[in-house]
Amino acid sequence: MTKLSSLISGTIFGLGLTISGMVNPQKVLGFLNIFDDWDPSLMLVMVGAILIFSPLHFTFKRKSRPIFAKKFILPSKKYIDKNLIVGASLFGIGWGLVGLCPGPAISAISFLNINVYFFILFMFVGFYLGNFIQNGK
């Protein structure tokens, strides 16, 4: 049953990215262009998502277990470390160069733009390299 909820959740997520305009790299770059012509939309996308997810997730986290799975899986790390800041900063540079982050990049697959496929390909190479840098394997 987790398969069904994964598909439904992914689809609603993809719809949200589309309706909000976040599948348009130009719009994302417009948000990062804060010192010139600024498009604040992305901020409201985050606010909207947090307004829904935050209270609902706190309410349901008190349940003993998720509906289809055995337990809630949450990040174990609690403290800020160098990897977090270096990694997030590198991600921000890539994001600022192209205007794509992982979700919208995958959602853009159906737009049949060859550059989206190159981006995704190199993003996966990056996952591999990141893993190698971190774990040496």
């Binding site: 992914g10 998720p66 799975a69 997030a88 991600f91 996952f127």
Partner: protein, 137 residues
């Protein structure tokens, strides 16, 4: 700073949908919808592989449903292959080392009041803004 292209209603609507999608994935699967992890694990890890791939499939279906219902999707991406390759690599490496992207840290993490995610989000928005300041959009 001038505010241009601001689309508050669609941004907020899309954001609410993204939050709701994250909530579905959380209460049914017990997991956080961080797309960089879902994508990376979908390829490299056997754990929850089908769930991960179905979530990604959903991300692709979302915009297709939106188009089929008669809406037009705007998406403008750079044609520069060096930018695409560098951006893809940095997004991949950065989200792997920093353990998350806009969805995992920016939406789910901030919703959980995670100090790590708040730090990561500030970091990637900051470097994204600086990158756009230097390279333009």
């Amino acid at each position: 700073m001038n505010i241009i292209n601001f689309t508050p209603y669609s941004a907020l609507t899309g954001g609410l949908l993204i939050g709701f999608a994250a909530f579905i994935f959380f209460i049914f699967n017990g997991r956080l919808s961080g797309v960089s992890s879902i994508a990376s694990d979908g390829i490299s890890s056997k754990t929850n592989r089908i769930d991960n791939l179905l979530f990604l499939l959903g991300l692709i279906i979302g915009p297709i449903l939106f188009s089929l219902s008669g809406n037009k999707i705007e998406s403008v991406l750079t044609n520069s292959l060096p930018l695409i390759i560098t951006g893809g690599l940095l997004v991949g490496i950065g989200t792997k080392i920093g353990k998350g992207c806009t969805s995992g840290h920016g939406v789910c993490g901030i919703s959980r009041f995670s100090i790590r995610s708040i730090t990561a989000t500030i970091s990637f928005i900051l470097t994204g803004v600086i990158t756009v300041l230097i390279f333009g959009i």
